[in-house]
């Protein structure tokens, strides 16, 4: 399995490039979710290009691969950009994003018809359970694969997340790593006012998880936490403090940029900020 491993400087540069790619395909599609794509970009860049995830784009179903799931599937703009950069799909495929007859099935939310995608998303709250099932499956097979899943902060308002949190703790599934893209902003409102998820660390600790908290835009911190050895028996949750729309000043922290594509003018303005 190939294992691209960039240094911190290269990762930061790649993250900028991926932000531009994600905005480009959302702009060209005329719809999509820029805010949550930009908040998750640094985390996904570290996973895919920092030597964390073991994967082979030429053999995307390798049973011994590590798994990555984007449970907050609306951030597909960044997911497909990462899959193209990693070689699962071609960069030319990205022009099909959210368009009918898409050759690689680049739907608004991911589906396993696209190489590199494990399960369909689009309904929040399911990904942690699915990731847990995968982690149980690879453990049964005797593989040392790890399964990573990115959740949204608003997403953990879904009750099923906490069912899964209890399950992974019960089964001591320590090859499961959940990463919360804690960007503080959901579609309707800031997450705190929509329905507060704090105290977030105490919640996960009380559910029996190994809790880590980092700045989700500090590449060195991200790499450091991802390189930590697994807890001997607990599943791990990484609470990554992030900024919705990170990198584009007029999008940062704004609910308005949850699910709207930029105009041509805004897109060009954004690109200048991401150089």
């Amino acid at each position: 399995m190939t294992n691209a491993q960039m240094d911190i400087g290269q990762l930061e540069k790649t993250a900028l490039e991926l932000r531009r790619m994600a905005l480009k395909i959302i702009f060209e599609a005329g719809s999509g979710h820029p805010g949550g794509s930009l908040s998750a970009t640094d985390l996904m860049t570290a996973l895919f290009f920092g030597g964390i995830l073991r994967y082979d784009p030429k053999n995307p179903k390798d049973p011994k691969r590590d798994r990555f799931l984007l449970s907050k599937g609306h951030a597909s703009g960044i997911h497909y950009s990462v899959l193209a950069k990693a070689g699962f799909i071609a960069e030319s495929d990205l022009s099909d994003y959210r368009k009918i007859n898409s050759a690689k099935f680049l739907s608004g939310h991911g589906h396993p018809k696209t190489p590199g995608i494990e399960i369909a998303s689009g309904s929040l709250g399911q990904g942690l359970s699915v990731a847990h099932g995968i982690a149980l499956g690879t453990r049964l097979q005797g593989f040392d694969s790890k399964t990573y899943v990115i959740l949204g902060d608003g997403e953990i308002q879904e009750g099923q997340i906490w069912e899964a949190a209890m399950s992974a703790s019960k089964f001591k599934t320590n090859n499961l790593i959940a990463i919360i893209d804690f960007n503080k902003v959901a579609q309707d409102n800031i997450t705190r006012d929509l329905k507060d998820i704090e105290p977030i660390e105490a919640k996960w600790e009380s559910f029996g998880w190994d809790v880590q908290r980092i700045d989700g835009h500090n590449m060195a911190e991200i790499m450091e936490v991802l390189e930590k050895p697994s807890h001997p028996e607990k599943p791990r949750v990484i609470i990554a403090d992030t900024i919705k729309g990170k990198g584009v000043s007029f999008m940062e922290g704004k609910t308005a940029w949850h699910g709207v594509a930029p105009s041509k003018e805004d897109y060009e303005k954004a690109l200048k900020e991401l150089e």
Binding site: P63, H111, P112, E118, I119, A120, S121, G122, S123, G125, Q126, G127, S129, V130, A131, H132, G133, I134, A135, L136, G137, T138, L140, Q141, G159, Q160, E163, A164, M166, S167, K170, F171
Partner: protein, 311 residues
């Protein structure tokens, strides 16, 4: 072959075929009732009791399936499906994961626990889901073979099982095949298509009808989707009248599945339906509910006669 509940046959079969290490079983805290408990005792590493959390169970099963396992996610039908429409649609059906959803305690046959425990809309719901097949066996022999057939079938499936004991219908020469109906008894005046517990109910009705020289054909329809179009198109025209019988709401179940085939083929013959009449029932024993809510052999007799009168 023996008289037993289909849930018992399922539990025993899982034990018999459990040496296949691809098989994993999940339950949501009711494993003594669904009969998966014994599998859990025999194969503890491949048994996952997810607690009372059906949504989590269904998606965990989907995850396991992506690693090549064949998960049987089991619970009472009313909770297994009632609580997980979204999970079944996205993580199982749309993702096309190889998950077997096994719902026990279906229909009014459940009895005293009341309407919140009597699942009567599951066939309608699962039939309407793309990629999903729907199977309801009639007895022990068929349940055992269908369980193995679901292991061999690649793709999502719903397996509908019952709580009370049912009579043996088939002997060991029976060969279950997904998508195939089977003539249980040959007659000539009318054809009954029955599923699940209504196969034994129909046999009782047919004895009574025979006393009045009414001889009907009985077909067991254990695969509700894909429905066996061939057997319907072969037998309905030559009998000239039909009745369907199911422990399920009258909307969306076996009656509609058979009716769709007739409609598609412009076949108009007298057609009676024995099913729950779009209402919630109440508490009471299974046989009492079958009598009061129109599912008993007495109702089948009456429906057959009424239908024949329209011939």
């Amino acid at each position: 072959m023996k008289d037993a509940a289909t849930r018992d046959a399922y539990g025993e079969t899982l034990m018999d075929i459990g040496s296949n290490t691809d098989i994993v079983v999940l339950d949501s805290g009711v494993s003594d009732s669904t009969r998966t408990k014994k599998f859990g005792q025999k194969f503890p590493k491949r048994f996952f009791n997810m607690g009372i959390a059906e949504a989590d169970m269904v998606c965990t099963a989907a995850g396991l399936a992506t690693t090549g396992k064949i998960p049987f996610a089991t619970s009472f039908a009313c909770f297994l499906l009632g609580r997980t429409m979204d999970q079944v649609l996205v993580s199982v059906a749309y993702s096309n994961t190889n998950v077997k959803l096994v719902g026990t305690h279906c229909g009014l046959a459940v009895g005293e626990d009341g309407p919140s425990a009597q699942m009567i809309v599951d066939i309608a719901y699962t039939r309407a889901i793309p990629n999903m097949i729907v199977v309801q066996p009639a007895d022990w022999v068929e349940t055992a073979q269908a369980t193995q057939a679901l292991v061999d079938h690649e793709g999502p499936a719903y397996f509908r099982l019952g709580r009370p004991k049912v009579k043996a219908i088939f002997d060991s020469s029976y060969k279950f095949e997904i998508g195939k109906g089977r003539v249980v008894k040959q007659g000539s005046d009318l054809v009954i298509f029955a599923t699940g517990s209504m196969v034994q109910e129909s046999l009782v009705a047919m004895e009574e009808l025979a006393k009045e020289n009414i001889n009907v054909t009985l077909v067991n329809i254990s695969t509700l989707k894909p429905i066996d179009r061939d057997i319907i198109l072969e037998l309905v025209p030559c009998h000239g009248a039909l009745v369907t019988a199911e422990d399920h709401n009258i909307i969306g179940g076996l009656g509609d599945a058979v009716g769709e085939v007739l409609l598609d083929n412009q076949i108009a013959v007298p057609f009676g339906r024995v099913a729950v009449k779009d209402q919630f029932a109440e508490t009471g024993t299974g046989p009492q509910l079958y009598e009061k809510y129109g599912l008993s052999h007495n109702h089948i007799v009456k429906t057959v006669k009424d239908t024949l009168n329209k011939k």
